[in-house]
Symmetry: C2
Subunit: 190 residues, 2 copies
């Protein structure tokens, strides 16, 4: 009953329309630097700047593919640095999430909402869900070991046959548990 | 069975001798900006720069009082930024801890060891320890609530009548659990 860990840094998912505003020409093609854990996704060489009146953060990496809504995922520390706040949310649950300005040398977009701190979650296929005896949307716990061992609660299960099995946490969560990418930890059900 | 949380940012404890090297004159007096949770301790206005060949981090705050050995406490993210590593240790367990250079406009010190990532711990008096049924050095767990609830394991009990009751964690640990300063969470014994 173990799941591999994928550690995310801050990043952005863009719509085609927002990419057209930010990049040099329409249908600009992102340059892949690294495959992500989920099939067909990659991290691109391209980064944007996110800005709020108090300060800004550079090198927010753009992920492929483009999506239906632009979404910025940051760490809680980033929100403190920016001088704002962002709710802890699942992907695409963006209603009343935080506003943010996204800048790239050619253009700028003002998001009225779209910035979140990601809620930790596990991607899995329908077959994985049967093996683990869990269902889509269920909240589970994951137990880690080592010098900073802990039990993460509030981990959401997300089931789709387009997913690969992994648990997504951000750098702060990984560091709090002294975890590394591809560590495998134990999913526990109450 | 609840303990208040104290969240630490990166900081440095200096010896009088190292302070004499870094600051403008011997027996330079630090300027208090904030009392800490432990009695007689304060955060000073003074900050130093810590440096490793790959990069440096500014605004590492100096704490009062001076101590018998200079100790730098950073977060795991800081070690990645510096391009080095530091062990997870209790305070003053510095043997084979990480080397680091400490810089202040007047002087510079080269520590062969002294940089750690703090192991999470709870300070308490002898009377508190009796109330909680724990002893010095014991490892306990602490359960939090909320949107990022979790159970911290590997929390060390430290008992002394010179301590005030609190649990020390760093910003990454606080953010992973979405905790705030002075939240009170539950100590649990197996």
């Amino acid at each position: 009953m173990r799941v591999p860990i994928w550690v995310s840094n801050r990043h952005i998912h863009l719509t085609q329309a927002d990419a057209n505003t930010l990049f040099w020409w329409p249908n600009y093609e992102l340059t892949k630097i690294k495959n992500l854990s989920q099939p067909w996704q990659f991290a691109s060489e391209e980064c944007v700047i996110i800005k709020w009146p108090k300060s800004e953060i550079a090198k927010v990496r753009v992920l492929w593919p483009y999506r239906k809504q632009t979404q910025v995922e940051v760490m809680k520390w980033d929100t403190i640095k920016l001088g704002t706040d962002a709710p802890i949310r699942e992907s695409w649950d963006l209603k009343w999430s935080a506003p943010i300005t996204v800048i790239w040398p050619k253009g700028q977009i003002e998001l009225k909402e779209g910035m979140i701190v990601a809620k930790r979650h596990i991607h899995m296929t329908v077959a994985d869900a049967q093996n683990f005896w869990v269902e889509n949307g269920q909240i589970v716990k994951v137990r880690t070991n080592g010098e900073r061992s802990l039990v993460f609660d509030e981990v959401v299960i997300r089931v789709s046959d387009s997913f690969a099995l992994d648990m997504h946490i951000d750098i702060e969560e990984a560091n709090a548990a002294a975890l590394k990418q591809w560590d495998r930890w134990e999913l526990i059900l109450d």
